[in-house]
Subunit: 335 residues, 2 copies
C-alpha cells in the first residue's frame, strides 16, 4: 500500500478503496468467492446456490430527504443480492451506537428498517448491538449482511461481449445531493430526495431465463463511473456511453455545475445498471419503464471492441472523454 | 424504553441490552427466526437448514494479550454458529475505519483474521470497508456475519429438563482481564491472555447424534451469569451452580477481589457452556478434557425443579446466592 495511514477516500468506493481491496484484503483472504469481487459472494451449499453480501452504513447525517440510514441499510444490502441474480430473503443487522444517541431516533430508524424490509420482502432474522463512548463513534453505524437464493445464474462481467447494450434504470445523482442537502453545508435551496429503494421488484420484472441480461450492478459509491470503470478494467472490450442519453435531473446537473461535481461519480441508492445482449435490450428497457422505479430508464451506451479496458463518454458538445475511476475522496460518508 | 438516551450498558450484553432487544427490536421486526433469540438464526432454505449470525466488534484497545479485534471477529462469529449446532463455513467482514488509522495495524488485523479463519476452517467470502473522519470513530470496528449448515439439530432451551447437567469447557474471565490489562488503567502487574479461540473443533469432538446435548452458548458479554440467567428466565425449571466447581484461575479470582468484579459476569471468548442429559454428561466432559481447548472443563451444576426461572449459586462458604443478569455497564467494549 502506498499510503501509510487510512484516508477518507479508502472508504469512498473509488480508486483508493480498490487499492485497499487488491493490495491488502485479497492477498490475505484469497478464495474464489471473494476474488470474484461481485456485489455478493456466490456460494454453493450442497447444490443450493446462494448469494451472501455485507455492507456497513455510516451515512452522515443519518436522516436525509427521502430516507434514513435504516432504509439505506435494508435497501442497499437487498440490492447487492438482487444485482447478483438472487432473491433477497434474510438480513442480519449489527448496530454500533454512540453513548447518548436518542432512543427516539433509534426507534425511527428501526421502524424505517421494518418498512423497507416489508417492501423488499426480506426478514431481519439476527442482530447485534454495541455501544461506544461519547466521541468514539458518530451517532449510529449499521451493518446489514444479506442472504438469498440465486434464481438467475449466468450473470457476471465474464459474460459481457462487444455489441451488448448498457442500460440504467433511472435518474442519476439524487441520493448524493439529497444527503448533501441534509448536511446543510451549502446555502443552496433545492428540493431533491434520495432515490433509496429496494430494486428486487424492478429487477424481477425483467430478469427471467433467456432475458439476455449479462451483468448488473447498483451504482452506489463512486456512481456510474466507478461501477463501469471497475468492470471494464483489464477486459478485451471497452464501453462507449452517450452523454445526452444518460438520465440526469436538471437540478442535479445544475448543482453539479455550481459545486464542481461530476454527476457520473455521484452515489445512487435505487438504480441498477444493466448490460444485456443487444437483441434483448429493447424488451428489458420496456419492462423497466413499465415499473414505478424504472420510469426514467434509458439505454445509455454499448460495449465495443475498441479502447479495451476503458469507458469513453461521447459528450454532448461532440467530444470524447475517458472516464476514470474516481479517487473516492469527493463525498465521504454518503452511504 | 425507560431510558431516553442510549447508555454504554445497552451494548453490554446484560439487562439493558435485553431491554433494547425486547422493547425495541423484537416488536418492530418480529419474525420466528429473530424471536428465538439464539446465538444464530436458524433458517430453512428449501429444506437446507442453515444458521446465520452477526456480531460487531468494538473492543478497545484493538490489540490485547492473546489476540486482537480481527481474531475476535472471526472466532466470535464462528462460535455463534458452532453453539447453534452448525458447521461454520462462510464469513462476511464489514470494517469501519477512522481516518488516520495506521495501515500497518490494519495489515496485522487482516493477517490475524486469516490465521483465525484457517484455524476455524471458514472462508471470508465478502466484505466492505467504510472510513469515517477523525474523531467520528475509534480506530477500527469490525462486523462479521457468519453462515453454516446446521449439522446437529434438536438444540435449544426448550429441550432442557430438570436433572440435566451444566458443563463449562474451561477457565472463566481470562478475556475480560486481558483486555483490561491492555487498557493499562490499573497499576496491577499480572499475566493473563485472552482465551479467544474458535470452538467448532472442540464442539465437534463431543457433538454427535444422540450425544445428549440439549443446549449450548458461549458466555461472552455478561459472562456465565448473563448466559444462564437469560435462558432460565420464564422457564419452569431453575439452575443450581456449585461455586467451588466453577473453574477460575487464581489470578482472575484475586484480581476480581481487588477490582470488585464478579468473575461470573466477565466475558469469555473461547468457552462454551453445555447443558446435557445427566447420563450423557460424563462422556461429554471426558471428550472436552481430551481436547486442547477443554482441558479445564468441569461439571458446574444442574437443572433443577426448584426456584423456576432462577439461577442459584451454592457458595464456597456454604450460602446460596441468586445470580442476576448483570446490568451491562461494568466493562464496556470488551468485544
Amino acid at each position: 500500500m502506498r499510503s501509510k495511514i487510512i484516508r477518507l477516500g479508502h472508504g469512498g468506493g473509488g480508486r483508493l478503496t480498490g487499492e485497499l481491496i487488491r493490495q491488502l484484503f485479497l492477498p490475505a483472504w484469497s478464495n474464489p468467492a471473494l476474488a470474484a469481487l461481485g456485489d455478493s459472494a456466490r456460494l454453493d451449499l450442497e447444490g443450493q446456490k446462494i448469494a451472501f453480501t455485507t455492507d456497513s452504513y455510516v451515512v452522515s447525517p443519518p436522516f436525509f430527504p427521502g430516507g434514513d440510514i435504516g432504509k439505506l441499510a435494508v435497501c442497499g444490502t437487498a440490492n447487492d443480492l438482487a444485482v447478483a441474480g438472487a432473491r433477497p430473503e434474510f438480513l442480519s443487522c449489527g448496530i454500533i451506537l454512540e453513548e447518548g444517541f436518542p432512543v427516539a431516533q433509534l426507534e425511527r430508524i428501526v421502524a424505517s428498517m421494518r418498512a423497507a424490509a416489508t417492501e423488499a420482502g426480506v426478514q431481519i432474522v439476527t442482530g447485534d448491538t454495541k455501544v461506544v463512548g461519547k466521541g468514539k463513534g458518530d451517532g449510529v453505524f449499521i451493518n446489514t449482511s444479506g442472504l438469498g437464493r440465486i434464481v438467475y445464474d449466468p450473470l457476471g462481467a465474464e459474460h459481457i461481449r462487444p455489441g451488448d447494450q448498457v442500460l440504467v434504470s433511472g435518474l442519476l445523482g439524487d441520493h448524493a445531493l439529497a444527503v448533501l442537502k441534509a448536511r446543510g453545508e451549502f446555502a443552496l435551496d433545492y428540493e431533491i430526495e434520495s432515490d433509496c429503494a429496494a430494486l428486487n421488484g424492478l429487477i424481477a420484472s425483467f430478469l427471467e431465463p433467456d432475458s439476455g441480461v449479462r451483468f448488473m450492478r447498483d451504482p452506489t459509491r463512486g456512481g456510474l463511473a466507478a461501477a463501469l470503470c471497475e468492470i471494464a478494467t483489464d477486459q478485451t472490450w471497452g464501453i462507449r456511453l452517450v452523454e445526452e442519453s444518460i438520465p440526469i435531473r436538471k437540478t442535479v446537473a445544475g448543482l453539479c455545475e455550481v459545486l464542481g461535481y461530476d454527476p457520473l461519480t455521484l452515489a445512487n441508492e435505487g438504480k441498477v445498471v444493466v448490460i444485456a445482449r443487444a437483441d434483448a435490450a429493447p424488451a428489458i428497457l420496456e419492462r423497466m419503464k413499465a415499473h414505478p422505479l424504472g420510469r426514467e430508464a434509458a439505454l445509455i451506451g454499448q460495449v465495443v471492441g475498441e479502447h479495451p479496458g476503458k469507458v469513453c463518454l461521447e459528450t454532448t458538445v461532440g467530444g470524447t472523454r475517458i472516464l476514470d475511476i474516481p479517487l473516492g475522496e469527493d463525498l465521504p460518508r454518503i452511504c
